[in-house]
């Protein structure tokens, strides 16, 4: 054998040994441990890449606080082991890449043998993750993401539970509110995405049925910066409501353009972005009267007031709040905890049956699942509106924390 070939063979053997050691060594050490000392929760989420911002501002602060709180209580009581088991998070970075997410999710299930999983970020990732989990009879409770498109698949995926509101649940209360306030016309801007399409497709027939003229519905591409022509058109057609079903970056671009061109319809609503505290921090007085999907706030209930205070305290006093999802995400984790304690075991089939059939006492009140999703009545609100620095719930009426401010006040100043 030549020297070169020998060197190559040595390199390959080293690599093979490294791979086998990586694949086997760690687990061999753990397999001998029979006594359960902790509950390991795995997460293949986006800690880097374009989706990472959602971990920072949406579900991330919630699950981090929940784990700390559970451990402060001594853990989750599991009858099978006759004791409370503390929770440990094992997290991997999917780098906002679908292939990496699916691989890491399988690693968490089959190699790390984690006890439970946190959901990955975005509707597309959820769709893939839900199927993988169902193949392994592994529970998955969704977080950021969730589309109506998932609804027909739910029956085939009994181990998947979706938390976030569907477009259908939010469009109805919004249109009812617009009709009550005699809004005559609306312009819809929607992002070229499944999210935008679903909201547009739900809103248009509801608005027309309510006698509200849809002056236009226009798609905008992701990342668009210049929306001046669309805003100009809405202004020229005197649309009394501007409904922008886009993502934060595009919503902010539309908001800036509305202020810059002094287009001030009676109602202006944005999709994800308006519900973040950072929206108020950016726009200050100009946020007054701006609506967004959601919604909950410190006035919704004592439990939610307490949740908000705890979340803010857990983030070192920073008001990094998502007034749409955080309450229902936390409620989902509470439901999981209660289902585990009720099942008395970590067996996913038993816990899944409890989640599917029982009701849970949570921060949003009584929570239960129907066809894997959360019924509309469980949410603390569907539409929010910034009023004096509070994201007030304004629809549906029975969940409202304040009356809607319609028409919204004039812009206070040019874009800040």
């Amino acid at each position: 054998m030549t020297k070169k070939a020998f060197l190559l063979l040595t390199l390959i053997l080293c690599l093979s040994v490294a791979l086998i050691v990586a694949g086997c060594a760690e687990k061999d050490g753990e397999e001998v441990v029979e006594e359960k000392e902790e509950i390991v929760i795995g997460a293949a989420r986006s800690y880097t890449g374009p989706l990472a911002i959602q971990d920072v501002s949406c579900f991330g602060p919630v699950y981090r606080m929940w784990i700390d709180e559970v451990n402060e209580r001594g853990g989750i009581y599991v009858e099978e082991y006759g004791k409370r088991l503390p929770v440990r998070l094992l997290k991997y970075d999917d780098t906002s890449d679908m292939n990496t997410m699916t691989n890491l999710l399988k690693k968490l299930i089959v190699e790390d043998e984690v006890d439970f999983l946190l959901a990955p970020i975005s509707t597309a990732f959820l769709k893939a993750a839900a199927q993988i989990c169902n193949e392994h009879n592994f529970l998955l409770i969704g977080a950021e993401g969730g589309a109506k498109e998932l609804e027909p698949l739910m029956a085939e995926m009994p181990y998947f539970f979706s938390l976030l509101n569907y477009a259908t649940q939010q469009a109805g209360p919004l249109v009812d509110m617009l009709a009550e306030h005699n809004i005559e016309s609306a312009a819809i801007i929607y992002i070229e995405d499944q999210h935008g399409l679903e909201y547009k497709n739900d809103l248009v027939p509801l608005l027309e049925d309510a006698g509200i003229e849809v002056v236009f519905d226009k798609a905008i591409p992701m990342g668009v910066k210049d929306v001046s022509s669309i805003i100009e058109e809405a202004k020229s057609k005197n649309a009394k409501a501007l409904l922008c079903c886009a993502y934060p970056d595009e919503n902010f671009a539309v908001m800036d353009e509305c202020i810059a061109s002094d287009y001030n319809p009676d109602v202006i609503l944005f999709g994800p972005g308006a519900c973040f505290e950072v929206f108020y921090q950016i726009y200050g007085e100009n946020s007054e009267g701006v609506m967004g999907w959601g919604a909950w706030n410190e006035k919704s209930s004592d439990k939610l007031k307490d949740l908000a205070e705890r979340l803010i305290a857990h983030q070192g006093g920073e008001r990094n709040m998502d007034w749409w999802g955080m309450a229902i995400y936390y409620a989902g984790l509470e439901a999981l905890e209660q289902a585990i304690e009720k099942a008395g075991t970590l067996d996913h089939e038993k816990i899944k049956d409890i989640l599917a059939t029982e009701k849970f006492d949570t921060v949003v009140g009584e929570l239960w699942f129907e066809n894997g999703g959360v019924p509309a009545e469980c949410y603390p609100g569907q539409v929010g509106q910034w009023q004096n620095g509070i994201f007030e719930v304004v629809a549906p009426n029975d969940k409202a924390t304040n009356d809607p401010l319609i028409p919204k006040p004039k812009w206070q100043a040019k874009s800040e």
């Binding site: 070939a5 690599l15 086997c24 991997y92 679908m98 199927q131 993988i132 070229e192 499944q194 399409l197």
Partner: protein, 321 residues
């Protein structure tokens, strides 16, 4: 001299057969995640080798890998439930081949940074065209992909890598390979001695894209659900380029070693250091470019020359078109 060369070739062949035998046995002897991990590593090997098949000898830096990979993924998404797996994978390769013929015919008259930018832009162009069609014509974004077991995907990727190695080996030794190398050395001189420069470049570009398409089509089956954003991820244009640079373009093993080490390093970083993986990744690349311009294979050859004697094959640089 001939006896020495024959012995060397036989040694290589034995080593390759041993590695292949080991890989074929992996799904039977290892844990399920080892198969998934190796599948992923082999995917990067296939992409890097495909990239190096064209960009290595010609010196043209193509950043269109994500376009061809995405074309394979979309082919699988649309044909996966109507065609048998091998035919579907083949269609992914053919779709990418045809796409590369079109892109190549337009771009391969450009050189240097212009070619790189155009190929990079082609990824974005195709991504947004598909996105527009889905939203405005089909009224629905993304679609599910037929699912295949990890072991099957692993074996298909392994076959693609073997085909790539064989193709690269024989192409390099053929008249065609010589023509590609001559283009890399001096395109004007190559044209002057009678090489049909455009035809050679376009065909090799399409051939390398064929393998990228095959890889995309089979890998799509593990994604379960895709949309244009997922399928045409620019990272799949950059990773093969970085991996080949990391491994070294001096010979056929450079891209393979680069892809294996790089993808394994990536796996360690995303699982052990979730927030800093890109930071460490970037540092490794900067250090590689500064101190290992010929990659790992160049380092190995330098060490060999220093300690065992012999000629340094990496001593001569290559001009990048």
């Amino acid at each position: 001299m001939k006896l020495k060369t024959d012995a060397k070739n036989v040694s290589y062949l034995v080593i390759i057969i041993l590695i292949l035998a080991f890989l074929v046995a992996v799904p039977f002897i290892s844990k399920p995640y080892t198969v998934i991990l190796l599948k992923n590593i082999l995917m990067f090997v296939a992409l890097t080798l495909s990239w190096a098949l064209f960009s290595g000898p010609t010196g043209y830096i193509s950043l269109a890998t994500a376009a061809f990979y995405g074309a394979g993924i979309y082919t699988a998404a649309y044909l996966g439930d109507v065609l048998p797996l091998p035919v579907m994978v083949l269609c992914g390769g053919v779709a990418s081949f045809l796409l590369a013929l079109i892109i190549g015919a337009i771009t391969l008259r450009l050189r240097g940074i212009y070619f790189a930018i155009f190929t990079l832009s082609s990824v974005e162009l195709i991504k947004h065209v598909l996105h527009w069609i889905e939203i405005t014509v089909l009224g629905k974004r993304g679609r599910p992909v037929v699912k295949v077991s990890d072991s099957t995907v692993f074996y298909v990727i392994l076959i693609i890598v073997v085909l790539l190695l064989v193709t690269t080996y024989f192409l390099k030794r053929s008249r065609y390979g010589m023509a590609m190398s001559s283009i890399g050395s001096c395109e004007e001189a190559a044209a002057h001695i009678g090489v049909n420069v455009v035809r050679v470049k376009v065909f090799t570009f399409a051939l390398s894209s064929f393998f990228i398409g095959l890889t995309g089509a089979i890998m799509a089956t593990g994604l379960i659900y895709i949309d244009s954003q997922i399928a045409f991820d620019l990272n799949y244009s950059f990773f093969p380029t970085l991996m080949a640079t990391f491994g070294g373009l001096g010979n056929i093993f450079g891209p393979v070693i680069g892809a294996v080490l790089f993808s394994y390093l990536r796996e360690i970083l995303i699982t052990k250091f979730p927030y800093v993986y890109m930071l460490i990744f970037g540092l490794v690349m900067i250090l590689t470019i500064l101190y290992l311009p010929n990659g790992i294979i160049g380092l190995a050859q330098t060490i060999k020359v220093k300690f065992l004697g012999g000629k340094d094959a990496t001593a001569t640089g290559r001009k990048v078109n």
